[in-house]
């Protein structure tokens, strides 16, 4: 089985987020970048699915600065990697670049994280599936494959559903799909020599542009309630905040 895993390079989950004084750009100086946590679940699943045979290709849309993250994906167990040499402008741009690659390099299964932790977008998997004319299951918590059929468990409003889909398919990985894998020494050593192909992006019309960023207003200082007065909480929430 040939699997493609789409990976994003995002600020570390513990990173403090800062912007330039005009609020137009994210300041990446001093910020560690990591493999998007959901993409790491997707990659771990892909490695599990190919233990008996098959290949896992990772694809990233990014400039050369994302290569350490790509090497980490190779260390976790991907067979080879493709980098589309451009900053990821928006979800549509990313989906078009991946679709373009997949049209000439078909896969049985395409795995993505269910969303990226920087743009908080979850548009890439479904856009990619639409461009390729194949199904997409975005919130997949479980995935099993038998022959050319995938069975998935997906989160829905107030519950879950079990779906059956033919391959090829795009699946968005949620927590529970696979255990995170930690690269071992052999993986780290071999990652250095695994193939990483760099290709140039195609032209794509731009429909959306980030104009500026803003940070939430910090909460005013906490109002402490003594433990013995805990029971007064709900009256306070009603009278002072009107939330209940």
């Amino acid at each position: 089985m040939k699997i493609l895993v789409c990976i994003a390079n995002v600020p570390d989950t513990t990173a403090k987020i800062n912007f330039t004084p005009d609020n137009k750009e994210f300041v990446s100086t001093g910020v560690t970048f990591i493999l998007n946590p959901y993409d790491e679940i997707a990659l771990s699943k892909a490695v599990d699915l190919t233990t008996g045979g098959g290949t896992v290709t990772v694809i990233n849309i990014g400039d050369a600065s994302t290569e350490p993250t790509i090497r980490k994906a190779l260390a976790i167990g991907a067979t080879d990697a493709v980098r589309v040499n451009s900053k990821p402008r928006d979800g549509y741009f990313v989906a078009r670049q991946i679709a373009e690659y997949v049209k000439t390099n078909p896969f049985d299964l395409i795995l993505c994280g269910r969303e990226s932790s920087d743009s908080n977008g979850s548009s890439v998997p479904a856009m990619l599936a639409e461009l390729l004319g194949i199904p997409c299951v975005l919130f997949a918590k479980r995935l099993t494959i038998e022959g050319t059929t995938a069975t998935l468990e997906q989160e829905i409003e107030g519950g879950k559903e079990i779906l059956s889909s033919p391959l090829p398919l795009v699946a968005g990985a949620s927590e529970g799909m696979a255990e995170w894998k930690i690269p071992n020494m052999r993986g780290i050593m071999s990652a250095r020599t695994k193939p990483l192909v760099v290709i140039e992006p195609i032209e794509v019309p731009q429909h959306t542009t980030v104009k500026s960023y803003d940070k939430p207003i910090p909460r005013s200082s906490v109002k402490l309630i003594a433990a013995e007065d805990a029971g007064k909480l709900f009256d306070m929430l009603r009278d002072e905040k009107k939330v209940i």
Binding site: S123, M127, F139, K141, Q154, H207, F234, I244
Partner: protein
């Protein structure tokens, strides 16, 4: 020209988040001076559909058919795109629910439209069309301009108020064409817990962390949640340990929520957890460690042992509820 809102039903009924998204779309339609058309897919009674009229919809399109009985992303996206073309919709609004998140990107591709997902406030429409959305896992907001002629927006539940406006809506059947290629995914089984409040839509959330010491102690958390009519949630270490299901995990790598009230019990407040809950309107933190970082991000704090405080809160919540009903 029009604004089109997709009105999602769960088992034939509209939820509060559906009326939020209608109210949101109505405000956009009013600003753009365009009529608001709603599209419903699947079996919904005319009585239920008529409710859309109370929130500013003038026309409800009803798409029904054997292949549309169960929510299925591909045929649903196709029907929404067909309706958008038929109504010459300039803005298409959906809820950023689980199904909405799967549908909206497909609709955008079909219509060659720009997509803004997870929008949290009304767009600015004087000049460029600019939406506000969450970014960096709740640590920031991004203002995104959509420059395409047709625009698709998905709105986060709980981020806009339900606004009634006098009026009524005419209900008409919308004829659709579903292609076989859109019907390859089959739903084999659906499991819904009807007795619990769904977490992403919940107005009140009671959440607990490692401070609860073990899954056997969740009874009091559930009792507090049930008394308040709240959904239950948990921190990442709790779902990782298997004490609670992953679907309850809120935080950067779990579900991001924006309820009116978030009560966090025995959760220290790591930055990844705060990212997922910081857009809650009011945050209450119960923790025995007065140095817990969560207190800095809280509106109300109670320093004390959960096993002592939670039973008091349950008792007080019961008294509060009975005084409300009485």
């Amino acid at each position: 020209m029009s604004v089109l809102v997709y009105i999602e039903n769960v088992q034939g009924k509209f939820k509060k988040s559906t009326f939020e998204v209608i109210s949101f779309a109505a405000a956009i339609a009013q600003k753009q001076n365009l009529p608001l058309v709603a599209l419903s897919i699947g079996d919904v009674s005319d009585e239920e559909l008529g409710k859309a009229g109370k929130y500013g919809v003038t026309k409800v399109l009803k798409a029904v058919g054997d292949s549309l009985k169960e929510m299925n992303v591909q045929p649903y996206a196709s029907v929404i795109a067909q309706a958008a073309k038929a109504e010459n919709a300039k803005v298409i609004v959906l809820s950023a629910s689980f199904s909405g998140k799967g549908i909206a990107p497909r609709v955008a591709i079909k219509l060659d439209a720009g997509l803004a997902d997870n929008v949290i406030d009304l767009p600015v429409m004087d000049g460029p069309f600019i939406v506000k959305k969450g970014a960096f896992s709740g640590k920031a907001f991004a203002f995104v301009e959509i420059s395409s002629d047709v625009k698709v927006i998905s709105m986060i539940p709980n981020s806009y108020k339900v606004v009634e406006s006098p009026g009524s809506a005419a209900i008409t059947i919308f004829e659709t064409q579903i292609e076989a290629k859109d019907l390859t995914v089959t739903v084999k089984e659906t499991k819904r817990s009807t007795d619990k409040v769904s977490l992403p839509d919940a107005e009140l959330v009671v959440s607990a962390g490692r401070g609860m010491k073990g899954p056997e102690n969740w009874g009091m958390i559930e009792e507090l949640a049930n008394t308040l009519g709240a959904a239950t949630a948990c921190s990442k270490p709790v779902s990782d340990a298997g004490w609670r299901p992953h679907s309850e995990h809120v935080g950067q790598t779990g579900i991001a929520i924006s309820p009116n009230l978030y009560i966090a019990i025995g959760i220290s407040g790591a930055i990844q957890h705060l990212a997922g809950v910081s857009s809650s309107k009011v945050i209450v933190v119960v923790n025995k460690d007065p140095e817990a970082p969560f207190f800095k991000a809280a509106d109300y704090g109670i320093v004390g042992d959960a096993f002592e405080i939670v039973p008091r809160l349950v008792e007080a919540a019961k008294a509060f509820k009975s005084s409300q009903n009485g």
